[in-house]
């Protein structure tokens, strides 16, 4: 895709905004326990920051930062993290995804945090991958 080059003001504002949007996305993922939020919402916010960069600077800039192989890897890593926590619980002697057995303080809270991170990674990579595939399809 070779869109019209954006105005320098649009480019600068988008570049300035992207890190703050990403920080907010991470906050929404990590804070899903105690305030509205969670992996799905935070993952979409993270993906939206990259989509903003793609709109301003072109998809190549995003590809340089997050290659296609990495995106597919992230997508699988998130699901693996989620399912892996379940397997860890089984290995420790509890039911699948029964976080109470994890050897940390407040194990259920920690287990939820880990799966929220997994969800966030998968949603971010999946949304970005779909956006990129639709954009570059001829």
């Amino acid at each position: 895709m070779n869109p019209e080059p954006q105005d320098v003001i649009v480019k600068t504002v988008c570049r300035l905004l992207a890190p703050f949007i990403q920080l907010f996305g991470l906050y929404v993922i990590m804070h899903g326990h105690s305030s509205p939020g969670g992996g799905f919402q935070g993952g979409v916010i993270l993906a939206s920051s990259y989509i903003l960069l793609a709109v301003a600077d072109g998809i190549d800039v995003v590809n340089r930062r997050l290659s296609l192989k990495m995106l597919t890897g992230y997508m699988s890593t998130g699901v693996l993290l989620y399912a892996g926590i379940g397997v860890v619980c089984v290995l420790l002697g509890a039911n699948y995804l029964d976080y109470g057995i994890l050897p940390v303080t407040e194990p259920r809270s920690v287990g939820m945090l880990v799966i929220e991170i997994g969800v966030g990674i998968t949603v971010m990579a999946a949304v970005l991958s779909i956006f990129r595939d639709l954009l570059t399809f001829e």
Partner: protein, 94 residues
Amino acid sequence: MKLLHLIATSVTGLLLLLGSLDMPDTGDPESPAAIHVSPRYIEDGFEETAVPNMVTAVLADYRSFDTLGEVTVIFTGALAVLLILRRTREEENA
């Protein structure tokens, strides 16, 4: 054949409508879901999970299998788009 489809759809729709008549009203405090599942989440959720956000506790702990399925659905959706739309280098050269 079209008539058969119409009859099958109408009968199924009528049966579903009939079934919905027996469902509890929205927000009915006497409905089965409201008399034993919801109170447990509301009253014991914090002690059991140490997570102040009740929605997250239900979504990620009590209904964790459901959320695992949701993530897998998103993953599968992205994979399907990838398989249909993405061109490999060999295909581009062909």
